[in-house]
């Protein structure tokens, strides 16, 4: 495997992302879009939003979008390498943190660290929402679907699957 092999690129990028994605996989979406779509052109805007939609539609953790991007770049090996890189480093950190974290329950630095990362994650999830909406809402009708989903999701407890079903049917009908 040489240095510009796509697998090396996937492993390097997602391995780093794994360690800086504070607040979960969703906070890493804007950076994935920036890098995969705008910088290295692994996939185009539509393929990116499709991948996100597929990851949301499939059972399992949201991080599965990483497997889809990896598959796009280098087939099955790409999917495996990207997913392993996105999970591996953080799993090691989690394993060691699990042993020690609770010893510092009352430590001031731990309380401050936790309090500090909540607003950072929130801002990043907001950025994620913005990037995804801009990529997905190519016309007024699609934007209306997004707005309607926001309203329903904020004010009711309807399962996201129903929202996806309705939105998918609207798309199928050619209305979008």
């Amino acid at each position: 495997m040489n240095d510009d092999s796509p697998l090396t690129a996937l492993a390097t990028y997602f391995g780093l992302l794994s360690l800086i994605a504070v607040g979960g996989a969703v906070t890493a979406i804007p950076d994935m879009h920036r890098y995969a779509v705008e910088t290295v052109h692994w996939l185009n805007d539509r393929q990116f939003t499709d991948s996100f939609a597929i990851a949301q539609l499939s059972p399992g953790p949201n991080v599965m979008i990483v497997a889809l991007i990896g598959y796009h770049v280098a087939g099955l090996a790409g999917a495996a390498v990207a997913t392993a890189a996105m999970c591996g480093p953080t799993c090691v950190v989690a394993y060691f943190a699990a042993q020690t974290w609770n010893k510092f329950k009352a430590a001031r630095w731990r309380i401050a660290l936790q309090a500090a990362l909540v607003p950072v994650s929130l801002g990043l999830i907001g950025a994620s929402a913005f990037v995804l909406a801009r990529a997905a809402d190519k016309n007024i009708a699609a934007a209306l679907v997004t707005v309607a989903t926001v309203v329903v999701a904020v004010f009711t407890r309807i399962s996201p699957l129903w929202l996806f079903a309705v939105a998918g049917l609207l798309g199928l009908s050619g209305w979008l």
Partner: protein, 193 residues
């Protein structure tokens, strides 16, 4: 009889196989986030940990970088059975969805250009973006009830990564230490629940 009133006495200890199966089940039941399923399975149905322990482990998983549920599987697996437990829970969580998503990826590579599929996905994509906006709004409510540093940090992170499209790493390198110092100096500005 008094023993029964103790919440801990009702806790059971799973075997590695049970651990694998439970996380596989959590993984394939969880549409749009696996957390609620994890809680239902581990706390309510299997009684493998108390609600309090669950919250503690989950808070840690959320705080750590990387996918939350993945972290949770490792933290929980390690608590139950050390390194083998962590590995088994992780494989249970990731294995089945990985197989499903790979199949979908192959299908998408073949049929992604089909008009029908692209129409459906454009609808789902618009709704999926809406769900993340809704998630942002729900999370922002407790943080924006008062004007303080947390709101300012959140807005700066949004502008830097969302609007200006700076890479995540430099934005974090500036904002995370700044937020830490602010949280240290003004703990009252932290989130009220």
């Amino acid at each position: 009889m008094t023993d029964l009133a103790e919440p801990d006495s009702t806790l059971v200890r799973p075997s590695l196989t049970e651990l694998f199966l439970a996380f596989a089940h959590i993984a394939v039941s969880g549409f749009g986030g696996a957390l609620p399923w994890a809680r239902r399975m581990i706390v309510e149905r299997k009684r493998w940990m108390t609600a309090e322990e669950f919250n503690e482990d989950f808070a840690l998983s959320q705080f750590l970088p990387g996918p939350n549920v993945v972290n949770f599987s490792v933290v929980f697996g390690a608590r139950i059975a050390g390194a083998p437990g962590a590995a088994v829970a992780f494989l249970g969580l990731m294995g089945p969805p990985m197989v499903i998503v790979t199949i979908i990826a192959v299908l998408y590579a073949h049929y992604g250009d089909l008009e029908v599929l692209s129409r459906i996905l454009s609808g789902v994509g618009a709704a999926a973006a809406g769900l993340i906006i809704a998630m942002t709004i729900k999370m922002a409510k407790p943080l924006f009830t008062q004007i303080g540093w947390p709101a300012a940090i959140a807005i700066l992170a949004f502008i830097g990564v969302g609007l200006v499209r700076w890479p995540l790493l430099p934005v974090l390198a500036v904002l995370a230490p700044a937020a830490f110092v602010l949280a240290w100096l003004f703990p009252a500005g932290s989130v009220k629940r």
